[in-house]
């Protein structure tokens, strides 16, 4: 996604590697919103939002699966920390996983083995 500009037409002949911010990625037959896109609009989101504290977000970044202790609609969700948009999560049944770019996760050290399940703080 790129913001509208009067100059776009002039560069339309370039061999583009990437035009603006990636919004969706195709995962098999599904479309997944990117963390970058959800970070962009996440502060304004009013639905499908999960507010986390920092330690919980870090656990998601490390690859842990969190068990939700309150009901949440299944699908992709906005993750927020102190009101700031942190990225994309995926809820299936009562489980939440982070959907961050690999290089995000590598910074926080991906945990090996079966992910520990923890309860999401109220």
């Amino acid at each position: 996604m790129i913001l509208k500009s009067e100059h776009l037409e002039e560069v339309s002949g370039y061999d583009m590697v990437s035009p603006g911010l990636p919004v969706l990625r195709r995962i098999r037959k599904y479309l997944k919103p990117t963390s970058a896109a959800l970070q962009w609009i996440g502060t304004a989101a009013t639905k499908n939002v999960l507010e986390l504290d920092e330690p919980t977000l870090i656990r998601l970044l490390q690859g842990e699966v969190l068990r939700l202790t309150r009901p949440c609609e299944e699908g992709y969700v906005f993750l927020r920390v102190d009101g700031a948009a942190a990225g994309c999560g995926l809820v299936i049944e009562d489980r939440l996983t982070g959907q961050f770019p690999r290089w995000f996760r590598e910074m926080f050290g991906i945990r090996r083995g079966k992910p520990e399940q923890v309860e999401l703080p109220e």
């Binding site: 996604m1 790129i2 913001l3 500009s5 009067e6 100059h7 776009l8 002039e10 560069v11 002949g13 370039y14 061999d15 583009m16 590697v17 990437s18 035009p19 603006g20 911010l21 990636p22 990117t34 970058a36 970070q39 962009w40 920092e54 977000l57 870090i58 970044l61 920390v81 102190d82 700031a84 948009a85 942190a86 990225g87 961050f100 770019p101 290089w103 995000f104 910074m107 926080f108």
Partner: protein
């Protein structure tokens, strides 16, 4: 036994307080973070870090910049991942300050990876207008893409041309040529104890720099502004490159006066003389600013240029 001369010894004649300059490489440059105003505000970044026990000290030189404590692993902080800030050397901000990109402009960043300056321009332009971020090396493209997406840059397309062969079909209001260089301003820190690690400027590198600035000028609009920068001290990669552009085109030098301690460009080096106007360039040395060394030149294309 005679010790090998240090690669920087040939700069002794023009770098002020040369011994202080050499000693400045003993300690790493300070960590500077820039608040990403596309996502947040400097106040919010400072307050969020403060709650995590990280005290950011505002830098007078620019309202978006903070000095960060050396122990803070800023690059793996949540603030960094959430795109609220970017880590960039203080002096590395100067080229964009001198370029003065504004909202609505069409800007070319000829050697864009890893994207720190591209994203700084997007902030200055308030995510409006258009930036073409060019990077020749495919291996550096992911770093560029990661920076731009993490910081929420939405006025930029990325392309992968050789900078010296960049298509001439469109002219730009602003062109940044932050050229590949021997990196002495940065490498001096890593090579403090082993100067032999310092990379020498090859003839092919200086030739590439000349072709880059030349192509950058060819795609600059009449009345437009071009900034050429490197993070090295070698005049062959700096003043000599700018002097050749002045010699071969109608480019006009602008005086570069960043709000940091700096020295003027030099007009002689190892028996070679450069055009007098290259004095208008700025040389920024580590011992003057406690940051990476930089060279910055600014030229404008006359309104009457054909």
């Amino acid at each position: 036994m005679m010790s090998e001369p240090h690669p920087f010894d040939s700069y002794r004649d023009f770098i002020p307080d040369f011994n202080d300059f050499m000693e400045a490489f003993r300690d790493p440059p300070r960590t500077v973070v820039r608040a990403n105003t596309l996502r947040s505000s400097p106040e919010e970044l400072r307050s969020r870090c403060s709650r995590s026990g990280i005290l950011l000290e505002p830098l007078k030189v620019h309202p978006h910049l903070f000095s960060a404590p050396g122990h803070w692993a800023a690059g793996s902080s949540l603030e960094f991942l959430m795109g609220l800030c970017h880590i960039q050397a203080l002096t590395s901000h100067v080229p964009v300050w001198m370029l003065e990109p504004g909202p609505g402009m069409k800007v070319l960043d000829l050697c864009a990876a890893p994207g720190g300056k591209t994203s700084q321009m997007a902030q200055e332009m308030d995510n409006s207008g258009l930036i073409v971020a060019n990077e020749k090396k495919a291996g550096r493209m992911p770093a560029l893409g990661n920076t731009l997406t993490r910081l929420g840059v939405m006025n930029t397309i990325t392309v992968g041309y050789g900078g010296e062969d960049f298509p001439k079909r469109t002219l730009f209001d602003r062109v940044l040529v932050d050229a590949p260089c021997s990196g002495e301003g940065k490498q001096g820190y890593k090579a403090y104890h082993r100067p032999s690690r310092l990379r020498k400027a090859s003839r092919s590198l200086t030739e590439l720099q000349k072709r880059l600035i030349s192509r950058g000028y060819e795609v600059l609009k009449p009345g437009g502004r071009l900034v050429y920068s490197t993070c090295t001290f070698n005049p062959e990669e700096n003043e000599a490159v700018v002097a050749q552009l002045l010699d071969r085109t109608d480019a006009s030098m602008e005086t570069v006066s960043p709000p940091l301690s700096h020295s003027r460009g030099i007009t002689e080096y190892q028996g070679r003389s450069y055009e007098r106007n290259v004095e208008k360039c700025a040389r920024i040395y580590p011992h003057q600013v406690h940051s990476v060394g930089f060279f910055v030149a600014c030229v404008v294309r006359p309104e009457t240029s054909s």
